[in-house]
């Protein structure tokens, strides 16, 4: 029982930290039909910016906000390369992702920045709320942030601008014929997505107590797996259902990962398991149709 509880709280903690990553991937891959690989660079960028500012004495909440801003700029760079220079969307993402590796190293000054000596958003929050700095407090703050973020995303997607952003992914010719410059909406969409992904990187770095240049490797697969698992469980539909599905998806994904580690999986094999999970969630709907009929 004790162990089950710890597995669960561990998963919830990880899931709430990675939820923004999954929401970011949802925006680009699903709402936008833009397979944006910038994530592999904007996630560690978020960690790098937050960590560097923290060790330089900046307030943790301000440092986290700055990380989001940096992520947004990375997304805008990808959008500009795609729309102004007419580079294919995947290549645009790869260009920025590759460039960000050097940017991240420059920002941090070295490959790894330890945050053990400085206070994180979680510790600040625990102090301000008069709670102990426990896993529970971390979960509380992360869940509050995810709730606020999801609500904001839901609200945005139903605004005039949000509708135009969604329509850009669904039917670019149509939204252009209604007078919307899709170069602009693409920039807005990629900025929001990568801001969310960078936020995830900033939170994970503060939770782990370090930012590392390699923290983004394979991160896109984690986000995509969460989106796909959610989708295969709930299907797609309204914005609300989609957001809900992704949040459940990231939780299921983290449960599976934590379980895999508890039963003795070598952390070295983690990416292999992640890739397998993504593959399973992609192919599962096909098997389901084959077994149960269409």
């Amino acid at each position: 029982m004790q162990q089950l509880l710890s597995i669960f709280s561990n998963s919830v903690e990880q899931a709430s930290l990675y939820a923004f990553l999954a929401l970011g991937v949802l925006i680009t891959f699903r709402f936008f039909r833009f397979p944006d690989l910038t994530a592999e660079g904007s996630y560690p960028l978020g960690g790098a910016v937050a960590a560097t500012l923290l060790v330089n004495g900046v307030n943790p909440f301000a440092a986290t906000a700055a990380a989001m801003l940096a992520g947004a700029l990375a997304g805008m760079a990808t959008a500009l390369i795609h729309t102004r220079l007419r580079v294919n969307n995947i290549i645009s993402g790869i260009v920025v992702m590759t460039a960000l590796y050097s940017v991240n190293l420059t920002v941090m000054g070295r490959a790894n920045v330890s945050l053990l000596a400085v206070s994180s958003v979680f510790e600040d929050f625990a102090r301000a709320a008069g709670l102990g700095d426990t896993v529970g407090t971390t979960i509380l703050l992360a869940v509050i942030l995810v709730a606020v973020g999801s609500a904001a995303l839901f609200w945005f997607m139903r605004t005039e601008l949000g509708l135009a952003v969604r329509a850009t992914g669904e039917n670019e010719a149509m939204i252009g014929s209604l007078g919307v410059d899709t170069a602009w909406t693409k920039m807005v969409g990629l900025a929001i997505s990568n801001a969310a992904i960078a936020l995830s990187g900033a939170l994970v770095a503060q939770d782990n107590g370090f930012a590392d240049i390699g923290m983004g490797i394979g991160i896109l697969v984690t986000g995509a797996a969460a989106v796909m698992i959610g989708e295969s469980l709930f299907g797609d539909g309204s914005i609300l259902r989609w957001i809900g599905a992704v949040l459940v998806g990231v939780l299921v994904y983290e449960l599976l990962v934590v379980l895999a580690l508890r039963v003795g999986l070598d952390p070295i094999d983690l990416k292999l398991v992640t890739a397998a999970l993504l593959l399973a969630s992609l192919s599962l709907p096909r098997f389901r149709t084959r077994l149960l009929g269409p």
């Binding site: 949000g162 135009a164 039917n171 149509m174 014929s177 209604l178 919307v180």
Partner: protein, 265 residues
């Protein structure tokens, strides 16, 4: 309202399939003109409409709309002034969004997209009224996703979306071609009502000769990228399908290999 001046457009220049799609078109539309456009396949009808809307840049010539030279404007900028409906109902609507959301997108044609709720209760009431006028029963399905609508319903919605924000110019590019006869006639009735209510300056490409004669106050016939025949007012009203086919033969100087294209209802 609309002036097209010496418009030329060549496709696949320098190749064996080179084709002069627009061979110098001059056209002037006064405000409130409703012009039907006929011609065989490949005559340049769609090319002309796409050039006006900005989807195809002209090689030569000028397009002036509402006193403004829009020749260098990108399509999304011209869209503030022009509503266009294509043949394919999928082109003009967004399947994953609801009817209300599609209309909300159209209601802001040419204006800045703000960070405010797109479908307000007041706007939803307007949408309901406008949909009811279409007579397709869509007024009670505002929150239905467009993916669940039939082709005819989607095209009717596209029509409403194209006219909702009162464009200066409405372009209909064979917008009934993919619909069954009954739906086509419903959508056509709605089209005529919206055009006359809004006094919209309109160009309508059609393969239906009888419709081309009946609808609007002017008619132009294209052949090989040129206007080979034009009629207006009483002269147009007096046309018959047979006389139009005769005009075509006389103007183009050739027997049409496939008269069926022109004569088909």
């Amino acid at each position: 309202m609309l002036t097209v001046e010496a418009a030329r457009k060549r496709f696949l220049a320098g190749t064996a399939e080179e084709m002069l799609a627009l061979a110098g078109i001059d056209l002037f539309l006064a405000a409130g003109d409703v012009v039907t456009v006929i011609g065989s396949n490949g005559a340049g009808k769609s090319t002309l409409l796409k050039a006006i809307v900005g989807l195809l840049p002209l090689d030569e010539g000028r397009i002036v709309l509402d006193g403004r030279d829009v020749t260098a404007w990108p399509a999304h900028r011209r869209a503030a002034l022009i509503g266009r409906i294509a043949q394919d109902p999928h082109e003009g609507t967004c399947a994953a969004m609801t009817i209300a959301e599609n209309l909300a997108l159209a209601a802001r044609r040419g204006e800045r997209r703000r960070l405010v709720r797109a479908v307000t209760p007041a706007l939803a009431r307007t949408f309901r009224d406008r949909l009811a006028e279409l007579g397709l029963g869509l007024e009670n399905r505002l929150d239905t996703r467009v993916a669940f609508l039939s082709g005819g319903q989607r095209q009717a919605l596209a029509l409403l979306m194209a006219t909702l924000a009162q464009p200066r110019l409405l372009l209909l590019d064979e917008h009934l071609a993919n619909l069954d006869p009954r739906t086509a006639s419903l959508v056509m009735t709605a089209t005529e009502r919206l055009v006359s209510d809004g006094r919209l300056t309109t160009m309508m490409v059609t393969h239906d000769m009888a419709q081309a004669i009946r609808v609007g106050n002017r008619l132009i016939m294209l052949h090989q990228g040129r206007i080979v025949f034009a009629a207006a007012g009483p002269e147009k009203a007096a046309l018959t399908v047979a006389s139009l086919v005769e005009k075509f033969h006389a103007a183009s100087g050739e027997r049409l290999a496939d008269d069926r294209v022109l004569l088909a209802p």
